[in-house]
Amino acid sequence: MAHALPFSLIRWLVVVAAMLVIGCTKDPLRPPTSRPSLRVEPLELVLSDRVESGEIALINTGEAPLPLRDIRIEGKDWQAFVITDSENPDVIPAASRASVHIKVDADAFQTHDEHGRTIDVRDGGAALTFEAAGQAVTVPVEFHMPSIWTTWVVPALAKILLLVLLFIMPLASLLTWAERRESAMMQDRVGPNMASIKLFGARIRAWGLLHIAADALKMLFKEDFLPKRANHVLYSIAPLLAFMPALVVFAIVPFGDGLCYEHVFDVVSQADVDQCVDGRGGTALQIAHIDIGLLFYFAIASLAIYGATLAGWSSYNKWALLGGLRASAQMISYEIAIGMTIVGALLVYGTLEPHELVRAQIDTYWGIWLQPLALILFFTAAMAETKRAPFDLPEGESEIIGYFVEYSGMRFGLFFLGEFIEVIFAGALVVTLFLGGWALPFDILGASGFSSPLACQAFFFGAGAILSTLGIASWRANRHAEGFGALVTFFGLLHVFVAIYSMFTGWGTEIPHLVIVLIGMVTWGVKVAFMCWLQLLIRWTLPRFRYDQLMSLGWKGLLPLSLANIVLTALVIYFLLSGAEVPSP
């Protein structure tokens, strides 16, 4: 059992521990450069016709009280903005905050016709100015009218393209390869590694990654078979009905906090991000920020049953029909368990909106700590929803081939790919509900940066150690992967250098917004990829259930347990966390 990975990991952990001890015991060798002791949150207040008033927090981070003078609104549209506080603060005590509330008169930006109808709205802005400790400070205050194009359609399309083209589709096709390769690694086989392409005279194999392209080509050029007595219309649209819901439900998955367009290189605060999530000066990193998010998921996910059932029915094949019936019975049974397990999370976090759910997890504790039973139940039921082993009764390749027995070519490919997209979605949902979405553990990364330089060093050392260990391992394990291994190792060492830089300068608590957004998105992606890996591991470890076992697990196992979880959660919330929080009827 002398494999080198644990040893190199242990080596790294020793290095990390030593660095952390040094980081704990030592102050940064060079103190951070002196910054102005006044921090303004948000950097820029953006109001709209929906949100007419906002707050600008002035935070004194210094040691001495900070006198304020001459607080007023100036600028082009100064008439439209009013400071609503009856009395402006004249001094901010040390290490505390004062706030200025501002209200906008939306009518000032609207042009009405003679009937009082709004015919035109323009954007405008002014600035809150004041003098703090003798220095003039200006905070922009804007009125921004959300337009259907710039606020909703274009960002949504951009996010759809980003998520679908850069994450879901690549990961799904990667999973078709990873499934075979991972199973091979688990079973001491080699797996697909022979597909190659000749590029500039060199034969490129890339661990068999080109099997993805080979499979796609094969599916495209295979005969598109139509059973003679099949219902051709339903037969043709069934793959779409199975494939599309799997993609559509991704609309509610948040893959990051919020992106502020104009402050990507600035250090922003949570107040800025919240504003951007609301569509004022930015966008939420989630395709559809809708309040009924999880209900939307239930609605769309149950549509996927139609795909399987109609495929089975329209094929005019008794095995396909059996598969379709099994699929519908199974998915309906397990959907109840899914719904019931989520209720526990809803009770704890009090929201149906996935983005807010993640924020609630960051503010309190992740779902894995508050709802561990729900996590196991939900993960089981979500795996059953994907119709893969050990729940692959609808397919059951040793008994019936399943609802897609008559399908060939790219129509079959849609079922196949749809299944993997469901795998990704199940992983994404587990990450959203229980694993804190885009957040790093222990809330070490806030909107403006790491909570402390130590957290920054821990993160970069940890990431660097993992990356360079993986890189060195793949470098040494596979003689065809030297370039890739070297690249990953280099990337890992880069992280280590950032950590060392942070140790010497105390850098890390103030990071540009864009970097934080990227770290968040990558964290989310890594979590989702890990959940996909785990599902593949489970799929190749456990044997298939018998049909009665499947049903009894769903109805007699998961459902009562999830109901018990609801009752338990409700009781704990009512008695332990002060019943006052429960809204009275």
Binding site: L5, Q187, V190, A477, L537
Partner: protein, 190 residues
Amino acid sequence: MTIGVKKVSLERNPSDQMFLPAVVEGLVTTARHFFKNTFGEGQTNIATIRYGEPDVNTKDYYPDRFRGVHRLMYREDGSVRCVACMCCSTVCPAHCITIVGEDRLDGYEKAPKSFVIDELKCVVCGLCVEACPCDAIRMDTKEHMAPVEARAQAVLGKVELMARGGPSVAVQGGVAANYREVAPAEDPRF
């Protein structure tokens, strides 16, 4: 005789009924294999010999008696050992060997004018090697017939077969022509 009903009770302890401990145990096992085989740095459990890889030579792995593509051996002077006796083409169950003989004028009796083996017909039984009286045909190349694009490419002639060949030092007619006379004196079995 009455038919009795034998009741078999399946003992189940709570940890079995919960599934989870057993599931986790199984996952740990498979995950251990996964990590060892993926990042094992040359110490994997994978025993597969990767035939077809550029740096894997099949000849290092095949046993000595493996029957591959045929070859024709030659004498010290480089001429073909085959005397066109037709033994191999006669014994061949697949009729894949075609020999046309011709006279030789250098002291040997005959030689093949053409010696053609259709490797697509060959059933790789090795009978031709057994039948050959003068160690002219062998199948010890440890070579597979490579895939071809036209059938004609799989039909090997004398030149290709001899290109794979080598010198054979076997003596025509066995180790000694007078074996039956001298053997009883030397061999204790006689």
